[in-house]
């Protein structure tokens, strides 16, 4: 006789809590007015909040949207508080810096396309084919934002193909490692020297391109988003590689990763930005004029990846060793087990930390104002220096703060959505 174990085959459906155990009134009774002292504190706090709100509103609710200078606000007896005209008057500058007006459709289009490009990354129920656009998007964005000949970005993109083909061809001849090294080296050479030469020739023959815009014209939120989004998109994969490197059995890889992480984490971002603005050109071959924004992006990425690596290492450490063993025991190789088993779980554990880093990175882009780039905070100083708006403070900072808050709050909500979606237990 065989004993049938009793196992429930269906889950019980969830049931609502009994009536009288839910609702606003009950919540208030329990949390705000549970005792006399508690009730007094609640009422006092409520009064304070309402008063503060009223003061803020009476300052903010002003018919000042149309004024074109601070003195106009001050002379108008109807305006007794905030002078919002500055936002209206300088809106364009706060968004685009000194990017020429007629070309501003380009960053706008780049922004909209960016939303399309990140959508399949953020929501995995969208068609996977959309990923191709996400891959091409960075090159498209460079063409749109900086303009100039389209050949430059295209040839950079071609570099990947060159490296890949070289690897495939050499793989059979010299083996895995050597082929890899040669391919990487050749690709780097191509990017450093080949691209600019060939691009010049090609644009001589077929001049297609957009009006070139210098980096110094970039500014406002467009600049913050350019630096922030590039930093975010690059720092995650680099952080993952560094975290894996730190765990590696191979001494050299481990040492390099640990050294990099500890070195970068020990230095303030502002120092790295100064290095980007002043020092970096010393190390590059003479004559190469390396775009300042690109240098800043590199530094911000380096900085953020070091932090990212540590956040992800936390996730890796939280995984029970049984997960590695089960993957090994099934015969998965290192990269398969990392990609299919370890990373999905480690990243899921680290979502709060990762998104926290993203938010930090995005806000840290305001530091570029110190090396003279005109991000929103840098622009505030510029606007304050103009004769029209000399002396204005709160309105600008409030506006900039609110814009940043919208971006960061969106990220934070998304991370909560993602955590919820990835929950696989009840």
């Amino acid at each position: 006789m065989k004993m049938e174990p009793f196992v429930r085959t269906e889950m019980l459906s969830e049931q609502p809590a009994p009536l009288g155990e839910t609702g606003v009134l009950k919540w208030m009774r329990e949390n705000l007015f549970s005792s006399i002292l508690n009730s007094i504190i609640s009422i006092l706090a409520l009064v304070a909040i309402i008063l503060a709100f009223m003061v803020l509103m009476s300052w903010a609710m002003q018919p000042s949207w149309a004024s074109t200078s601070l003195s106009q606000c001050q002379d108008d007896p109807a305006i007794t508080g905030a002078c919002w005209g500055v936002i209206n008057n300088r809106f364009n500058q706060l968004m685009f810096g000194f990017y020429p007006r007629v070309e501003q459709w380009r960053p706008t289009l780049a922004f909209i396309l960016m939303l399309v490009a990140v959508a399949p990354v953020l929501f995995n129920n969208l068609p996977r084919k959309m990923m191709w656009f996400s891959v091409v998007y960075p090159f498209l964005a460079v063409i749109l934002l900086w303009g100039g000949t389209i050949w430059g970005p295209l040839l950079v993109l071609a570099g990947f193909a060159i490296g890949f083909i070289l690897f495939k061809v050499l793989f059979g001849i010299v083996g895995n490692l050597a082929a890899m090294l040669i391919a990487v080296f050749a690709t780097l050479l191509w990017w450093l020297y080949g691209v600019s030469m060939v691009a010049e020739v090609l644009s001589g023959i077929i001049p297609i391109g957009l009006e070139p815009i210098e980096s110094s014209k970039f500014g406002g939120f467009m600049l913050s988003i350019t630096i922030g989004v590039s930093g975010i998109a690059l720092s995650l994969p680099i952080g993952i590689m560094l975290a894996l490197g730190r765990q590696s059995d191979m001494f050299i890889i481990k040492t390099l990763s640990v050294g990099f992480i500890e070195l970068i984490r020990g230095v303030p971002l502002i120092t790295l930005l100064f290095v980007a603005s002043v020092l970096l050109n010393f190390f590059l071959p003479p004559g190469t004029d390396f775009d300042l924004i690109l240098r800043v992006i590199i530094m911000v990425t380096i900085f953020a990846s070091a932090y990212m690596a540590e956040v992800i290492r936390g996730g890796l450490a939280a995984l029970p060793s049984g997960q590695y063993e089960a993957a090994d025991a099934l015969g998965l190789d290192y990269w398969q087990s990392m990609r299919l088993i370890i990373m999905p779980q480690a990243l899921k554990i680290s979502i709060p930390g990762i998104v926290g880093n993203f938010i930090g990175l995005f806000k840290d882009t305001t530091l570029v104002s110190i090396i003279g780039l005109l991000d929103p905070v840098g622009l505030i100083v510029t606007i304050q220096g103009s004769s029209d708006w000399n002396g204005i403070v709160w309105e600008l900072f409030l506006f900039v703060a609110m814009m940043f808050w919208i971006f960061t709050f969106t990220m934070s909500r998304y991370s909560m959505y993602l955590e919820n979606k990835l929950k696989t237990t009840h």
Partner: protein, 262 residues
């Protein structure tokens, strides 16, 4: 701790052939200065069902984990299915895809459904087309009697069900040898039977198995050889009847009296 096996065991297909499945020669392993395994010699023929027992810390887990190189041995040879285990990654991957392993804590992948757990290795290691891999997976899930749970996540299953999924997951790779490391010791008593039944069915089909377990009922009915380990050495090995009724060494006698409770 061990419970009687109620299921009738059909021994007709359990045949030990002359072909050697695993050969271990003078194998030694250290953790730092600690000598965990000392001069292990052991040959497992195809079709053998071996139960390894011994006190905690005697090196049972370490021994079977050396067989698919979850642990690295420092001296001696281990030859699995004619392939010698060395640091050559190709050999290791080959052996791992032919040796299935079940762990005490199941180690299912919590972010994948039961079905995905089972199809993952066939798809990525064996390069089986997805559809075919799913058919194979459903076949083995039926065999362990939980096909209806295929689309759930491991966290939604009971311990016994999870361990049966873990067995199905290993079987999907069509292994020639199965290793079990205390597969029932993390389970509640009522779930132990369902997992043991699954293992018995596997044995009945002629699978070569090495099980570390304290389920002496299982050892008596299914094993053809019981190995007793202590302090990193194989102290005694024998057929189950002889082993239980007539243990040779004092250490075995002591261990058996403790575990069988007389």
């Amino acid at each position: 701790m061990s419970q009687p096996v109620k299921k009738e065991v059909d021994r007709s297909a359990m045949q030990v052939s002359d072909e050697v499945a695993i050969e271990i020669r003078n194998m030694n392993k250290w953790y730092g200065d600690f000598h965990v395994l000392k001069d292990i010699n052991m040959t497992v023929n195809r079709g053998e069902r071996i139960v390894v027992c011994g006190p905690s810390g005697s090196g049972k887990s370490t021994l079977i984990r050396c067989i698919n190189r979850l642990e690295v041995h420092q001296k001696g040879d281990i030859i699995v299915d004619g392939t010698e285990l060395s640091s050559d990654l190709k050999n290791i991957d080959k052996i791992r895809s032919e040796v299935g392993m079940c762990f005490q804590h199941f180690n299912l992948f919590p972010h994948l459904t039961i079905l995905e757990n089972c199809t993952l290795a066939p798809i990525w290691v064996r390069k089986t087309p997805k559809k075919e891999a799913e058919e194979i997976a459903m076949h083995f899930l039926e065999k362990v009697k939980i096909p209806e749970q295929a689309l759930k996540y491991p966290g939604q299953l009971s311990g016994g069900q999870q361990q049966r999924v873990a067995i199905a997951r290993s079987l999907c790779m069509k292994p020639r040898i199965m290793l079990f490391d205390e597969p029932t010791s993390a389970l509640d008593p009522e779930m132990i039977a369902e997992v043991l039944d699954t293992m018995i069915e596997l044995a009945e089909e002629g699978m070569t198995m090495i099980c570390v377990t304290h389920e002496m009922g299982f050892a008596r009915k299914v094993a053809n050889r019981v190995i007793f380990m202590d302090a990193g050495q194989i102290v005694e090995q024998n057929e189950p009847e002889e082993f239980f009724n007539n243990p040779q060494s004092e250490r075995t006698q002591l261990f058996l009296s403790q575990i069988l409770g007389h």
